[in-house]
Amino acid sequence: MSGVHVLAHGVGSRHDLPVSAFHAYAGAFAALLFSFLALGLLWPESRFRGDRSGRPLPAVLQRAADSRALRGGLRALGLVAATAVLVHLVAGPDDPARNPAPGAVYVLLWVGLIPASMLLGPVWRLLNPLRALHLLGCRALRRSPDTGRREPALRLGHWPAAAGLLAFTWLELASPAPASRTALLLFLLSYAAVQLAGAAVCGRVWFDRCDAFEVYSALLARLAPLGRGADGRLVLRNPLNGLDATPVNPGLVATVCVLLGSTAYDGFSDTPWWINTLQTSPLGRTATATAGLVGTVTGIALLYVVCAGSARLIAGPVPRPLGAFAHSLLPIAAGYLVAHYFSLLTTEGPRTLVLAVDGAGAGGATAPDPPLGPAGLATLQVTAVVTGHILGVVAAHDRSVRLFPPARAVAGGLPLLVLMIGYTLCGIGLLVA
């Protein structure tokens, strides 16, 4: 029945209903209560041991996880899937209802990486088709994939990843036709070109530090119960320990702020007020949306900088005051991501898979209903945001008692606690709006 049409927001025609006032107040109350209890009751000395913690997996599982067959298989899988997406983008219909490629990028990749990384670890590292291409290229040239000047990648850190994530979320949320074949092809090819050039100069360390999707997956994987210890062994560990081991690379704060800001903007852009602003703005829709997205990211980053700066003023100098607490924003970002994208993944994910397997039928595949009713969905969303908040508060508390002198640790943690309460109340506010 459907004609050819391009959806305004990437893919997915169904958005989540606003959560009820009951859910919102319950969530806000839980977050506030926990925050103030945390002030008085959390441990006075740092407990987290980062990558020195965890229970190693049995040797059989270690070997299976590191086996060449699995790694090679996943690499080939990534390449095959990438090729399939490219084929659909080049030859498929220019209609997201019948072409699985936009769904594959915006849902299976972007949203699917969230649960995959939070359960299994940095899976995109294994699937990344660009890494596979780089490896193939190096083999053809008979050189080691590590050949290259490492310093630029180390110096840039996650800044290129932050830029890449901002570009991708701009394409999804602010560009005029996010699901059109041309826009996606242009983005994916130019992105691939930049990453491959970076890897050619710096070696494969480039992907670890600068590839937006690898960094995205690796940062979310900090919350996975599965991780690598300092000795490289696979361990089961408390996600808070994994979080504590987050390496403080340059650009970490920027990357986390882009994640938080883009997700917040996505929620915010569903409100009638913003829709009306976009459609009546004299700047035009794309420019206004771009300003909204960049403004949200900048606002969130500024708030963080102010709060981390005041923590330093209160509690005294610490090395790298900004990066030291960036990891504690990760669970908050993850909570936002889960709350905003759960229903998209469970409705558009299967639809995309059916389209990809079944080919585009006459009318395309229909998306199933989300597995939860409105009340269940609201509970899940609020729980995700509040859980992220709690993990963030605990992570920041542990870091401040480690870094600050004992007498000033609690006071030094206050600005960050206030910041997190602010982020969380905004997050819940966006769910209500």
Partner: protein, 321 residues
């Protein structure tokens, strides 16, 4: 490029399937498929002629239902125009459907058959083509609801999700020619099952979705629960939206509506455009300066946008609970 972790069994070599399985344990690509509950899958129907549902659907009198997936199902939109001499000219705009009068009585073949015309749920005619004339004497003095239902050659009704494929319009009783551009409340006809096709007012012979000659005055910006009761006992809600020079009035907002409750969207645009409602995937042509009425029945909870395709404006959001 970074495609998703989508697997396409057709393309993936068998060796990869094993690797995929290892990953699948908690991976994102596998979990959602488990939400594909029974009955929502796309392989329920086996033959080309769908699944015959067990009989006796009280309200869908006469016809047993033959269920087919929505993407294969025929569609019908019913339009009526007063005749200058007597009664009404009825037009059925069908999609994915062919009238097959020569094989009536035979086996059901998807996308073929004829239509049953019903007045207030009682069958009054069998229709073998897109046009039919309905004499005024057939219509009771108080008017009635005319329904066109698509049926197969074996007289089973084509159905989607347990509801017959049909469309309804409300016919006023008194002399039809005298009431062009009747009030929007005059079309509460659609039964819960009637969703394909727009419901225009009488006095209109354009295809479904375009309605009377209502002027596009700025005063027609109204949003109110109105209209008479429909057969499901839920009043249709009428929402009026005007687009002029890219400005929408009233400004885009949320329209709260219950699941299954019909909503009549009356949209007037100063340019030709296409109206689209997400969630039910319904579209209607907008002609410059004319009011188009599109009736939608939302059957899923969620927030859905009403938008125009050519100008790409979001007109409002339907918050379906």
């Amino acid at each position: 490029m970074r495609p998703g972790r989508d697997r396409r069994p057709r393309r993936a070599a068998p060796a990869l399937a094993a690797a995929a399985l290892v990953l699948a344990v908690g991976s994102c690509t596998e979990r959602p498929t488990t939400h594909h509950g029974s009955g929502t899958g796309h392989d329920v129907v086996t033959g080309p002629a769908g699944t015959l549902l067990p009989g006796d659907h009280g309200e869908h009198a006469h016809d047993r239902l033959r269920q087919v997936p929505a993407r294969d199902a025929p569609t019908v939109a019913l339009t009526v125009r007063p005749d200058t001499e007597d009664g009404w000219n009825v037009r059925l705009a069908v999609g994915r459907f062919r009238f097959t009068p020569d094989s009536v009585g035979g086996a059901a073949v998807l996308g073929t058959g004829h239509a049953h015309l019903m007045l207030d749920g009682k069958k009054i005619a069998r229709v073998y083509g897109g046009r039919h004339h309905l004499p005024a004497e057939r219509i009771p003095p108080g008017g009635g609801t005319l329904t066109a239902r698509l049926v197969a050659d074996d007289h089973t009704a084509w159905a989607v999700e347990g509801r017959p494929v049909q469309d309804s319009v409300r016919l006023p009783g008194a002399s039809p020619g005298a009431s062009p551009g009747a009030s929007p409340g005059a079309s509460p006809g659609a039964s819960p099952g009637a969703s394909p096709g727009a419901t225009p007012e009488p006095g209109d012979d354009r295809p479904a979705g375009q309605s009377g000659e209502t002027p596009s005055g700025g005063s027609s910006t109204r949003e109110s629960p109105s209209s008479g009761p429909s057969q499901s006992g839920q009043a249709a809600r009428t929402v009026e939206i005007t687009i002029a020079e890219g400005r929408i009035s009233p400004a885009p907002g949320r329209i709260e509506v219950g699941r299954g409750r019909p909503v009549d969207l009356r949209v007037t645009s100063d340019t030709d455009d296409e109206l689209h409602v997400h969630g039910v995937d319904r579209s209607a042509e907008l002609k410059a300066g004319r009011t188009t009425t599109l009736r939608v029945v939302m059957d899923r909870a969620g927030l859905f946008e009403i938008e125009t395709h050519r100008s790409g404006l979001v007109l409002a959001q339907l918050a379906v609970r």
